[in-house]
């Protein structure tokens, strides 16, 4: 039975490559994005290692000690990411998955279900660590020898760390599950909390970007590693269990002791992790099976005034999003914090451009950033159809024109997309990154590109919706559509921003004031893309909706 369940889980994980839900393009795009992210991280790490191993303490250059410290800090960061990923996966796979109710009614021991799911979780963690630890250790090879121990410990870490992180995750997953449960009907509190956390993360991200800028440009980063920071690094390396065992093992420092410590910690952790999660598994499932939620208990009924059908449909969209925490986060929180992100990146980007290519291109950079981050906001539209679930079909039995159904969704997505572009443009203006006319231009192009992305994503989802079998659950976005939206957003941002930049340099060289031509060219490009996207959205829409039945076949 265990083998059968494991096979089922694995088949589901590989569904993008086979079966009816095949989405090879999406999976390939995800691979490309991951590879790009790894490449950028490796480039940053190589540069950071160059600077860091050069630091002398009391006039002595100690490469092994510095490498151990650097590795410990990086492994600790990866470890924390692994714990986050573990908490999310445990909650999703074990406590929230749609098949839990089916398994509860089948003559299968809960332990068998639990272990088959835990094996899949462990495999997922292995993938995460393989994609992080191996590139990190390869990047650091520039400063050390690739000894068999180095290679062996790197591979070993990909199997040991997943077990260790699952233990920590299992400790945190239950409180997280309970908090999520408590906040389920506190929609506004959840929204405010997630928005606050997101803003704080972006604020922190600003420092990361500033750190990277200094690393690649001024070399001022050396001053960051002053005496107190170095003391902190050394103390951290001393006590950061268990990641420091691995760093020392990799760097061939007392390998027998550190290897044994790592092995013992992993075994204890593995046993503890299985015990904690298995204890929680039945408890949580029982809680979910018996839950009855009531939000209000007032007998007073007040009806609203009659609305236009599109407004009625938009109201439906609002409640669906507002009362589903992950949708509310994607829709409201990401959009609200997007202008912050543009602002932080703008400050760093303008300096970087000046230092690297000696060009002042604030408006062009602003345009690029608004388009690129706007694309992140607009990924929300990738589930515009799917999130209705099977209830979407009931709309087909109602006297509503297909265009009204789709327009309501597009307008609802557009409201927040246009709002975040508007706030971003205003931020650029008030922070003196752009003149009023430039800010207005950025808003216009940003709004048009946003509309184009929303129209494209909505039709793509309509062509292949993924309805959840449980009408109360959340649809995880189609990776393909999300990746595609992000890539298109970045590309259009690059092309439009790049076009503006290229034209301004070209005309400036000839002493021609060509601001109007540049704006017209960008406008023409945005208008063409918008026209294409809306043509794609509306082409054969009635036929598509008429023919759509049961799962979008």
């Amino acid at each position: 039975m265990f083998g059968v369940l494991l096979k089922k889980q694995l088949r589901e994980k590989f569904s993008p490559f086979s079966g009816a839900r095949r989405d090879v393009a999406g999976a390939v795009l995800s691979v490309i994005l991951t590879a790009a992210l790894i490449a950028v991280s490796v480039a940053v790490l190589i540069r950071l290692a160059e600077v860091y191993v050069d630091i002398r303490i009391n006039g002595v250059r100690d490469v092994r000690a510095r490498m151990t410290e650097l590795m410990t800090v990086i492994y600790a960061v990866i470890f924390v990411l692994g714990v986050f990923s573990g908490v999310r996966n445990i909650n999703f796979e074990l406590f929230e998955s749609e098949d839990r109710a089916i398994f509860m009614a089948l003559p299968i021991k809960s332990g068998t279900v639990f272990y088959s799911k835990l094996v899949v979780l462990y495999l997922k963690q292995i993938v995460l660590f393989a994609l992080t630890v191996i590139p990190v250790n390869m990047a650091l090879l520039a400063h050390t020898e690739p000894t068999p121990l180095y290679i062996g410990a790197t591979i070993g870490a990909c199997f040991i760390f997943p077990a260790l992180t699952l233990v920590f995750s299992s400790i945190f997953c239950f409180p997280v599950f309970m908090i999520k449960r408590l906040l389920r009907s506190g929609y506004l509190v959840t929204l405010l909390l997630t928005t606050g956390v997101m803003a704080a993360l972006f604020f922190g991200y600003r420092y990361v970007l500033e750190f990277i800028r200094q690393l690649f440009t001024t070399g001022e980063i050396r001053f960051f590693f002053n005496e107190s920071v170095m003391n902190g690094m050394m103390t951290f390396t001393e006590y950061a269990y268990p990641v420091n065992f691995l760093a020392r093992l990799v760097m061939n420092t007392d390998p027998a002791r550190n290897g044994a410590m790592l092995g013992v910690t992993a075994l204890i952790a593995l046993a503890a992790g299985f015990a904690v999660v298995s204890l929680l598994y039945n408890k949580v499932n029982l809680m979910r099976a018996t839950q009855i939620r009531h939000t209000r208990r007032s007998a007073r009924v007040r009806f609203a005034h009659r609305k236009n059908i599109v407004l009625g449909l938009m109201g439906k969209e609002f409640f669906l999003i507002y009362r589903t925490p992950s949708y509310a986060f994607q829709y409201f929180s990401v959009a609200i914090t997007m202008p912050l992100m543009v602002y932080f990146c703008m400050g760093i980007g303008v300096d970087l451009l000046r230092q690297l290519v000696m060009i002042d291109a604030s408006a062009e950079l602003g345009l690029f950033l608004v388009l690129a981050f706007g694309a992140l906001t607009n990924t929300f539209a990738a589930t515009n159809i799917s999130r209705d679930g099977s209830a979407f079909y009931t709309l087909k039995a109602m006297p509503i024109k297909p265009r009204s159904i789709i327009n309501a969704k597009v307008i609802f997505s557009s409201v927040i997309a246009v709002f975040s572009v508007l706030v971003s443009a205003l931020v650029l203006y008030f922070a003196d990154f752009a003149k009023l006319s430039e800010a207005a231009f950025i808003f216009l192009i940003g709004a048009m590109m946003g509309e184009a992305q929303i129209a494209f994503a909505t039709r793509k989802d309509l062509n292949r919706p993924e309805f959840s079998s449980d009408d109360d659950s959340e649809v995880r976005e189609s990776t393909g559509t999300v990746s595609l939206i992000i890539i298109i957003g970045f590309l259009t941002g690059l092309v439009t921003g790049g076009l503006a930049l290229f034209m301004s340099i070209y005309f400036a060289g000839r002493g021609v004031a060509a601001e109007t031509y540049i704006r017209l060219a960008c406008f023409a490009l945005a208008a063409a893309l918008m026209a294409l996207a809306f043509t794609y959205l509306y082409k054969g829409l009635d036929k598509r909706l008429y023919e759509m039945s049961e799962g979008g076949k």
Binding site: I292, R297, Y393, A397, D472
Partner: protein, 257 residues
């Protein structure tokens, strides 16, 4: 107790639903028809039961009538409007309650009723009045202010029915309406259906509950293997439902491959 309503001559002419040679294939290249050459009518004031075994084609027929799935061949008219050619006009005349109670679960019951009222253009001043009539029948109580995702199976069935009746549809279509309802609510729904037809509306529903069919139907369309096997008129059903039972038990397999 409401008794069955006898159709008069004027009703005969008031043909509200007309299904003509309806056929449906789920696969374009396949040869298997889920529904084949189905024809029947429903007139004003009639309660038409679509009867058949599991997999006979009842739900497919209803979904074709409501436009939820495309038809392969044939035509369907509601109040003279083709469901395919004039879908909005045709759909304004009926409402449909699905067997799985598909509903937008993140709305409260009241918000859902408001949404349905917006869709079917129910005037603001009539909404409260309609709700009170329906509440008396279905008894959802204070739960109408709760989010639908917290409802039980039966409560979802009730809110779906209430939503579908907010605009007083001329034709009320229900797929297995008694499924998941407690006996008391079943009796109330049965009475409501009869009363609804009494007031000149038409009801089309699918079921395999012969007792319910025998009690309320004025016409029974029996489907077997995706084809109309027989249409029983009121007098046949009226014999305590005996003819209906006999016919049912002598029916062939669900589908001929």
């Amino acid at each position: 107790m409401i008794t069955k309503r006898r159709r008069g001559a004027e009703d005969e002419e008031a043909e509200l639903l007309k299904v003509e040679h309806l056929s449906k294939k789920y696969s374009k290249r396949g040869k298997v028809y889920a529904v084949r050459d189905v024809s029947f009518e429903a007139c004003k004031g009639e309660i038409v039961g679509l009867l058949g075994a599991n997999g006979a084609g009842k739900t497919t027929t209803l979904k074709c009538i409501t436009g939820m799935i495309p038809i392969t061949e044939g035509e369907i008219f509601v109040s003279g409007h083709s469901v395919k050619a004039e879908p909005v006009k045709a759909k304004q005349k009926f409402s449909f309650v699905t067997d799985n109670h598909s509903v937008f679960v993140k709305m409260t019951g009241r918000q859902y009723l408001d949404f349905m009222s917006d869709v079917y253009k129910v005037p603001s001043e009539k909404r409260k009045e309609r709700y009170e009539i329906l509440e008396e029948r279905f008894r959802l109580g204070a739960a109408v202010n709760d989010v639908i995702s917290s409802y039980s199976h039966g409560m979802r069935q009730k809110i779906c029915m209430m939503g579908s009746l907010m605009h007083e549809p001329e034709l009320w279509i229900l797929d297995e309406p008694m499924l998941g309802l407690d006996p008391k609510t079943q009796a109330r729904v049965t009475d409501f259906i009869k009363g609804w037809a009494e007031s000149g509306h038409t009801v089309l529903f699918s079921t395999h509950n012969l007792y319910v069919a025998a009690e309320i139907c004025t016409k029974a369309v029996i489907i077997a293997g995706g084809r109309v096997s027989r249409i029983l008129e009121e007098r046949d059903i009226d014999l305590g439902g005996r003819r209906l039972m006999e016919y049912w038990y002598n029916m062939g397999p669900a589908r001929e491959e």
